[in-house]
């Protein structure tokens, strides 16, 4: 299995040339140079998606030139947009001459009062059923009004359930079928509707089916499962554990098949023998019986009795039958059952981690913001300490960043809102100071490596305003920097080699 996979080296370090290429490609992308050089379009997106969505700015833009381009930058968002929000923006809903029923349906469904009302009705239904079961066989005349009341109440509750499903269909028909909980609801409600329909149609009589159908009413209580969050979590965990074990169960079914079929042939003489008083003779007679027998053996029930009974038939080869039973016990009941237990245990670990995903996400964000503050602080300290140092790598423009130059940059431009995002926040409390001190024990490079990923995935989008020619120059210089660094590395290697040669002589 591992031979087919290409090896990924542990530290995938791109070479300097690769990095320079990446920077150049970024340059080409940002300025859409390819289109420009082909002479295709002269327009470059000057506006940003966030600018466009901000209502104040949008108005300003719309008053100006309508042919401006907007740059889309897509980021995998952590918070999904719920359907309700999306619905409010739709033309079909906003500009409808008729009243927007779907909006109203959605509003009703989300109201806390309505949800609690339906939950209470489910409880009430259960209680009604219990009372009805008690009273169903009494012939006491005084109980008749109560029975009538219970009947009416039952019908009313059923109507409310159907109404709830209809409301959801009004809200969004197709979304209803996508959620498994809704399907469960629908299924349970229709199933419990069946006895009533049957009674309405007029089928009378005491047939067994009618009585069974009445039991379906009880299924309405199952609707509770979909309502409460804790129960949902448990059921989700179970379902996910079963999902990861599908292949294991398929393998188990294959083995069931193999042993059932083999069992029929191995125990043929036992099934056909004429000896009287054989207890388990039907057990391997045909395929359905054989499957049941294999399952019985899987649960380790009376296997020795079965085997001893089978030995009473002289035509049966003792060796093969006992080999069959022992092999199946070892493979199926001992090994497979323990594999299932093991997989469940490991899955529950994974599920627990997934359920606390939100907590881990916010923790990661917190770490990333601490890291950011550290960088800023360090930069400030360095700038104060080494003002006179000439940096060979940076040019004369913007990349000489500290917050002062950044403010120069952005000061002439639009608001300093982006600056506030990167500035040192006021709530720089003491415990985080300790974090800084303790982290300085770690090598700077490792520290950066550990936290860089978190920084890149931060939720709040950093917006930086660049002047265009500075940005172009920045990319150019960054590219040249890569080559310079590579050259410096080679020079260092030469120096080391010369040193070694010197030592040898």
């Amino acid at each position: 299995m591992s031979a087919e996979l290409p090896e990924v080296p542990e530290n995938f370090e791109p070479t300097a040339v690769a990095r320079a290429d990446a920077v150049r490609s970024r340059l080409i992308d940002t300025f859409s140079l390819i289109d420009h050089l082909r002479g295709l379009s002269q327009a470059v997106p000057r506006h940003n998606l966030r600018e466009f969505l901000d209502p104040a700015r949008q108005r300003k833009l719309m008053l100006g030139d309508h042919h401006q381009l907007v740059r889309f930058s897509i980021r995998p968002a952590y918070h999904r947009i719920p359907f309700a929000q999306r619905q409010q923006c739709r033309l079909r809903v906003c500009c409808n001459p008729w009243a927007p029923i779907s909006l109203w349906a959605g509003w009703v469904l989300r109201k806390r009062i309505f949800i609690n009302f339906v939950n209470c009705l489910i409880f009430l239904n259960t209680i009604f059923l219990m009372i009805e079961i008690e009273l169903v066989n009494t012939t006491d005349v005084r109980m008749l009004p109560i029975m009538m009341a219970l009947e009416v109440g039952s019908w009313f509750i059923l109507f409310v359930f159907i109404l709830e499903i209809l409301l959801f269909w009004l809200y969004n028909f197709f979304l209803f079928w996508k959620s498994a909980w809704n399907l469960f609801d629908f299924f349970v409600t229709t199933l419990s509707l069946l006895p009533e329909i049957v009674v309405l149609i007029g089928v009378t009589g005491e047939s067994v089916w009618l009585q069974l159908l009445r039991i379906c009413r009880v299924l309405r209580s199952l609707k509770l499962f979909a309502r409460f969050r804790q129960i949902r979590v448990i059921i989700l965990a179970l379902v996910r554990a079963l999902k990861t074990m599908t292949f294991l169960l398929v393998l188990l079914l294959i083995f069931f098949y193999i042993f059932a079929l083999a069992g029929i042939y191995f125990f043929e003489s036992y099934s056909r023998s004429d000896i009287q008083d054989l207890e388990y003779q039907m057990y391997f007679m045909n395929m359905p019986n054989s499957l049941v027998t294999v399952f019985i053996l899987f649960t380790l029930d009376h296997w020795y009795a079965l085997l001893q009974d089978a030995w009473r038939v002289p035509a049966l080869s003792k060796a093969f039958s006992s080999l069959y039973v022992i092999l199946w016990l070892l493979l199926g009941s001992i090994i497979f059952r323990n594999i299932i237990v093991a997989m469940m245990v490991t899955n529950f670990q994974a599920i627990r981690n997934e359920l606390s995903e939100e907590a881990t996400h916010s923790e990661m964000q917190h770490k990333a913001s601490i890291f950011k503050r550290q960088i800023i602080k360090r930069r400030l300290n360095q700038k104060d300490g080494e003002k006179a140092k000439i940096r060979s790598s940076s040019g004369h423009i913007a990349p000489q960043t500290s917050h002062h130059s950044a403010s120069l940059l952005t000061g002439e431009m639009s608001q300093t809102e982006n600056l506030t995002k990167t500035s040192v926040p006021k709530d720089f409390t003491a415990p985080q100071e300790y974090l800084l001190v303790s982290d300085s024990l770690v090598d700077w490079e490792t520290h950066v490596h550990q936290n860089l990923h978190g920084l890149m995935e931060m939720d709040q989008d950093e917006q930086v305003v660049w002047p265009r020619d500075s940005l172009f120059r920045y990319f150019e210089l960054l590219e040249k920097l890569q080559y310079n660094i590579e050259e410096r590395k080679q020079l260092q290697e030469f120096a080391v080699k010369a040193l070694i040669n010197l030592k040898d002589n």
């Binding site: 600018e51 093991a342 920084l455 040193l499």
Partner: protein
């Protein structure tokens, strides 16, 4: 004379003959290793066919149909009714399996045997031929005939290589086999000890329980029954009837050891290994995705570079030698007062801060290194001053090089 004698002496002949043998075997060996198939195109075609969807669909449907037919054959009435159909279909299935074996062998004669699933195919083909040969060798009324038919049910195992999920599951589980085997051997040893103990205590004397402890095989069965705690009370009752009062201690002790300790150990060992293999499996999936993503990025980059180089060569008036000449015109149109708002990570201030901090660190390290070098050269120069003239000219060359 002497020379001819030497020439024909035994050692010399042995030497010559052995060298001849070496030479010829070497030649044969190089011929074998340099053997290349002449029908590479056809071989590649067949290989593509084997790895294609049609072939796997064909095999999956054949095997499933075969499984279904075998189930139907167990019922006597159906078998009687559709006897001819089953015979024809059986021939068809066997021919499909042999065809698969042949073309897979044709594509890769030597590498065929290295894959475990191909070995499984070979074993199943051998199993297929068992009933036929048993019938031929031992006649129609051999008692082992139904055994031969029983193991035909293993044919469905051929389905496993066509499903990726089960294949990975089995590979993951296969790694736990070693531990499972060792626990089983331990259990067997334990049962062996107790079987002999039980036999000598309960089965060897006259009033003993010969039914359950009479010989070693039956004793093993009894002990296995105790391990799986099924029907052990009946066995214990048997022993009690014969008056073996102390047997209770024996039984309970063995149940505690065998069932509680050993079978639970199974679970523990399996949990440990399953976690390991699942982690490894997930890591491999991650790696695969990572590699695919990197490949995609490389492709995009390459396309862009090709585009740019094409544009460079397409210059109408002047030859653009470098990229900067190409974009010089564009650069002139950029103005300082044009804002561009970017959200990419590489243009954000934290990134620039980190990058420059790292570069500063590197600068510091290198300047420190340079200082060390200067010091070393100083020391060496001082040493040179103290050495006599001859060596001095020699080493001064080296220092100049340096």
């Amino acid at each position: 004379m002497d020379r001819s004698a030497v020439f024909f002496s035994h050692d010399h002949i042995k030497e010559i003959s052995s060298s001849l043998l070496n030479l010829s075997s070497l030649r044969i060996w190089t011929q074998i290793t340099n053997f290349r198939r002449k029908d590479t195109e056809y071989c590649a075609y067949v290989k593509r066919f084997i790895e294609g969807r049609f072939f796997s669909m064909l095999m999956i449907s054949t095997i499933s149909l075969n499984a279904l037919c075998m189930v139907l054959q167990t019922d006597y009435d159906i078998k009687n009714y559709l006897f001819l159909v089953f015979e024809v279909v059986e021939v068809l299935f066997v021919s499909v399996y042999c065809f698969e074996f042949c073309i897979k062998l044709y594509v890769d004669p030597l590498g065929y045997w290295k894959n475990g699933y191909n070995l499984l195919d070979v074993v199943i083909i051998i199993i297929l031929s068992v009933p036929f040969h048993v019938r031929k060798l031992f006649g129609r009324h051999c008692p082992y005939l139904n055994i031969g038919e029983g193991i035909q049910s293993l044919r469905i195992l051929k389905l496993i290589p066509y499903s990726r999920g089960i294949k990975t599951l089995i590979t993951a589980l296969g790694q736990t086999i070693c531990t499972v085997a060792s626990v089983m051997i331990l259990l067997f040893l334990l049962m062996f000890i107790f079987a002999i103990l039980g036999f000598s205590l309960f089965g060897s004397s006259d009033g003993g329980d010969l039914n359950n402890w009479g010989n070693l095989a039956v004793a093993f069965f009894t002990l296995f029954s105790l391990t799986t705690v099924d029907g052990w009370t009946d066995l214990q009752k048997d022993l009690d009837e014969r008056g073996f009062g102390l047997s209770r201690a024996f039984t309970i002790f063995f149940i505690l050891l065998g069932s509680f300790v050993f079978l639970s150990m199974f679970v523990g060992v399996m949990i440990f290994h399953t976690e390991d293999s699942i982690k490894k499996f997930k890591k491999e999936l991650e790696n695969e995705r990572h590699v695919a993503l990197l490949q995609e990025k490389q492709n995009i980059l390459k396309k862009q570079q090709e585009e740019v180089s094409r544009l460079m060569q397409k210059g109408t008036n002047s030859e653009y030698k470098t990229f900067s000449e190409l974009v010089k015109g564009f650069k002139k149109t950029l103005r300082h007062s044009d804002p561009m708002v970017l959200e990419d990570f590489c243009t954000t201030l934290p990134f620039i801060d980190i990058y420059l901090s790292t570069l500063d660190n590197q600068d510091n390290t290198i300047s420190k290194l340079q200082e060390l070098y200067y010091e070393m050269v100083n020391v060496l120069n001082q040493m040179l001053d103290d050495i006599p003239t001859k060596k001095r000219s020699f080493s001064s060359e080296k220092s100049v090089e340096f």
